[in-house]
């Protein structure tokens, strides 16, 4: 079974990965190693394109992004991506599963759906940031978009509420 887990820098994404490792693969150990049908997990991290500030607001002081700024932003993004990747890999190793890691740049919603199609995944696991109704309308919800457009079933994992446990 091909599992695709989409993560971002937030805790919700890593929690989704942890949940998937614990609950979708429990029979991995009882099955003989290398047996057919043993699950394959791919972890995808999508980095949104950096939006230069001058496209955001047409009125007001315009900030031009100098090449130096672009470079430092790119470097920061690469660092954050590699940190996410290393945390995810460590988590998978704790559960004795070897994941494939992918880092893509682009619009998260579309890239995740495309990755599902390219890989022919059997199930897509996404975290949910728990946005309220209004925020969803304005910010858009990646998990909502994935449910409507992905070709395969989508598992939405919400992080547990920290209070009242």
């Amino acid at each position: 079974m091909k599992v695709l887990v989409a993560i971002d820098e937030s805790e919700g994404g890593l929690y989704a990965l942890k949940w998937a490792l614990e609950n979708l693969f429990f029979n991995h150990e009882t099955a003989t190693p290398g047996a057919e049908g043993s699950p394959v997990i791919t972890v995808v991290h999508v980095q949104p394109h950096f939006q230069p500030p001058h496209t955001a607001i047409p009125v007001g002081p315009v900030i031009f992004a100098t090449p130096a700024v672009m470079d430092s932003v790119k470097k920061a993004q690469e660092e954050s991506a590699s940190e996410v990747v290393s945390r995810a890999t460590k988590l998978c190793e704790q559960h004795m599963i070897k994941p494939e890691m992918m880092v893509i740049r682009g619009n998260p919603k579309e890239m995740i759906v495309e990755a599902v199609e390219d890989m022919n995944a059997d199930i897509l696991v996404v975290g949910s940031r728990g946005l309220g109704q209004i925020k969803r309308a304005f910010l858009g919800s990646v998990s909502d978009y994935c449910v409507h457009h992905a070709k395969c079933p989508v598992l939405i994992v919400r992080p547990p509420k920290s209070s009242g446990k």
Partner: protein, 166 residues
């Protein structure tokens, strides 16, 4: 390592989408052998529609009609439960429980998921477009946002729709 005990709630209705969701779940999520899982099949009877949403007319039914409508809905519930139980028959180690509740499916599914503290909820998606969602509301959308546990939404792909499910 011992297999993990999981409780999985599957919401079923009369449509083919939920039968597909259940069979996908059985094929991919629940292990056939050596499994300590519990499968809970939930069918929700929607409440009486008293006011039609579009034109605002109210309906006044006599008691006879209400009782016969209730009996019809109970029969539908039993048929659906029987059909879905048959799909689960080949599972040997998995405990299958069935529940029938009355109410708005969105809230009932979330409440039952909390009360029985399931590990995961499986829903089918009717694939409504934007406009239908605005009028009819989407059960899967609401549950995904409000359930405390992970929600798996299974959409039936269009090319499967043509073939019949065994």
């Amino acid at each position: 390592m011992a297999t993990k005990e999981r409780k999985i709630l599957v919401a079923v209705d009369e449509g083919e989408e939920s039968a597909y969701a259940l069979s996908w779940c059985l094929n991919n999520v629940v292990a056939e052998i050596n499994s300590k899982d519990t499968l809970v099949l939930l069918y929700v009877i929607p409440p009486h529609v008293v006011y039609s949403a579009l034109d605002g007319t109210g309906y006044l039914f006599s008691q006879d009609i209400i009782t016969s409508m209730d009996k019809y809905r109970k029969d539908v519930a039993e048929t659906v439960i029987e059909k879905t139980k048959k799909l689960c028959k080949h599972l040997q180690d998995v405990k299958v429980e069935t529940r029938v509740e009355v109410g708005d499916p969105r809230d009932v599914i979330c409440n039952v998921a909390e009360k029985t503290s399931v590990d995961m909820v499986v829903l089918d998606s009717h694939g409504y477009g934007l406009i239908k969602r605005a009028f009819l509301g989407s059960v899967s959308n609401h549950c995904a946002q409000n359930c405390k546990c992970p929600v798996l939404i299974v959409k039936r792909p269009k090319n499967v729709a043509a073939t019949s499910t065994t």
